[in-house]
Symmetry: C3
Subunit: 287 residues, 3 copies
């Protein structure tokens, strides 16, 4: 299996599929091709969310604002998964999520011949690399004959590929941690008291306009009301708990606090965009 | 084969595919993931139109405004097809269209463990259920060895699944029938005279802005002009019969009367939205 | 393998897939379903770009403003590829790109029974035709037993299909050639001097608003600045060479000169639309 992710829209990903089909009959599954344009950080967020649902696979992910520059092409092993992507940080957060532990992530640089184009490395570099990695893993699979490639077999197969060399310092994206203020905080930040306030950041906006923050859902567990940048907002498990058009705070399927509107757009209602800071203050008001 | 339908946009359906791939290698075919948000009635309309084109398959359809509430999860057998969907009505119209007769539709409720999320049952409930149903059918298929599962074999396979129990009263969507006035109508509505007027309803708007009504195409057969809410409009078999930007009435591939604009949007030109009533009056004007 | 291309949006292509699945288990790959509506010329441009990346396949392409009229349905062989499409020109440019030489392109007309609808020949004519062609090729493949159908085997398989007859004069789209003015031109146009000016045409606009012209990239090789309709614009290999929001001229992955904006839309900034003429004048200014 090869999954495909990009910000290319159509019909560009089909060109990648054609190239792959010249090398291998592996199943192709689209993750998304309408990711925010040229934004490796957003791609890293979504891939970290989606890819761990898959059984071991090769994941070809191309959101590549540096196409045509000398940024490297990476092959990143994460357990028995492999991510093929430009070296701009998008591969590392999903790789950490795919691996059982961080030490089970290793990155390789692809030796790339002069590609056919300066602007479509999805077709000219990443698709053929993903196809060759897939073929190498399938060959390894056949040689062991057990239908499932182990992490060490994947590592061996990659090590045997002539055009891969260990990547010394791949670009990484680390998502910011929210700053949490608790009852009884003495400045050391080690209080286990109730959460008084959280200063978080907007990680992404989804298709529905839901504002996804970096605040873990457990920090608001048991709360009924939260002030979002000062505005009192109900906390609910489901959209249907508030009337259409009304704002709510909920915990999304990724486990993070979202600022949403039932049957509307949270990004507009809360005036929040990716990268914006957002302050969440639990409120004990009872209305 | 498992078909997938939702209002999720991307990349959420890929998470469902990853979950399914942990259970089965069955082929995955996307029907649509950009259906009108949170509108089970629109989903029912489109699925009733599309699913009958398929050979027997498992159809996983998630348009689910009640996610996180206690609405049930359904498995609906329709002949040798199975629809897996929330119990909000969307499954029943396509199930009736898929079954040879209405008595060949039977609904089951899925016993659902506490799902991993309150907001993404597509991933946490419906995808794994579809995968398990698919596996159960494939096992039944293997046991009979004939490559095609019969309706009764599907029924037996579902009855043998521990976590299914008969659904007593699944939510249903029934599309309204238009009201037809004919020459010689005496109020009993049993006249077979010419159609004088039809009071219908807008069922859906497609991507092109075509306004799809609930009026069967045969009611306007042979007519050249129709008043749509009073406005005289030509009837044509093809868009090209009128100039770009001009309005027309035609019969769509689903067999219903559409109010369209050649190379434009019918919903804007006719000022019609889903659920609106629309009056069609054949006119014998010759221009 | 069958590739699918249309301007249908969703969920219409799924109906085509269902129909195909009643005939064959061949792999289905989507090229695009959001091509410019009713524009066979744009479809021809994109298919000419994408389809040659694929190994031999059946390509079902339906952008069909003449649906319901008496335009023919075509099956076009191009080497070992087959394009199934309405006879409106869209098939011929990709067919020439798929064939080793123009003489290896041959067109057939499909004898079509009265289709089920006047408006959805994608489902009622082209999908079943593509499925029958695919099956005929797979049968031919099986009979020779070599896993890859040769152009002559494809030709034989098509010739053996009862419902195909040679197409005498299929509609064709020819993309305009740009007019090139060179140093030392004496009016005969055979100068090999430096390019002084090129009068081209806009062939297409992609999802990002990039303006794709018919001017081959080699005509601007080595230039740093070009006047686009009079406005001085930097030539760059990559978007990142200019600041976000700034205009640039580059050579796209299809080999043609594009007029783009980094992190913005070229069609708006240059005020260019498909079919517009555009004058490119290399400038030796050094800023």
């Amino acid at each position: 299996m090869i999954t495909l992710t990009s910000d290319f829209g159509s019909p560009y990903p089909a060109a990648m599929k054609g190239v792959i089909r010249r090398h291998t009959d592996a199943e192709l599954i689209d993750v998304a091709h309408d990711l925010p344009r040229g934004d490796p950080r957003a791609a890293a967020f979504w891939l970290r969310f989606v890819l761990p649902e898959f059984p071991p696979a090769v994941h070809c992910a191309v959101v590549d604002p540096g196409v045509g520059t000398d940024r490297a092409a990476l092959v990143v092993r994460a357990g028995a998964h492999v991510v093929v992507a430009p070296d701009n940080g998008l591969a590392m957060p999903p790789a950490r999520a795919l691996a059982a532990e961080e030490s089970d992530v290793e990155a390789w640089t692809v030796a790339v011949d002069e590609p056919a184009s300066e602007t479509f490395h999805g077709r000219d570099v990443f698709a053929p690399t993903a196809a060759r990695v897939r073929t190498a893993l399938d060959d390894a699979d056949e040689s062991t004959g057990d239908g499932r490639v182990t992490p060490s077999a994947v590592a061996d197969a990659l090590a045997a590929m002539d055009d891969l060399s260990p990547a010394s310092d791949p670009v990484d994206v680390r998502f910011p941690e929210p700053s949490v203020e608790r009852d009884g905080d003495d400045g050391a930040g080690d209080s286990t008291g109730d959460v008084v306030a959280v200063d978080g950041e907007v990680l992404a906006i989804d298709r529905f306009g839901n504002v996804i923050t970096n605040v873990p859902g457990e920090l608001i567990r048991g709360r009924d009301w939260i002030r979002v940048d000062g505005d009192l907002t109900p906390v609910a498990e489901t959209f249907g708990a508030v009337d259409p058009g009304e704002r709510l705070v909920t915990v999304g399927s990724h486990g993070y606090v979202e600022c949403d509107v039932n049957d509307g757009r949270g990004d507009g209602a809360f005036d929040l965009r990716p990268g914006d800071s957002v302050r969440l203050v639990p409120d004990s008001v009872s209305l």
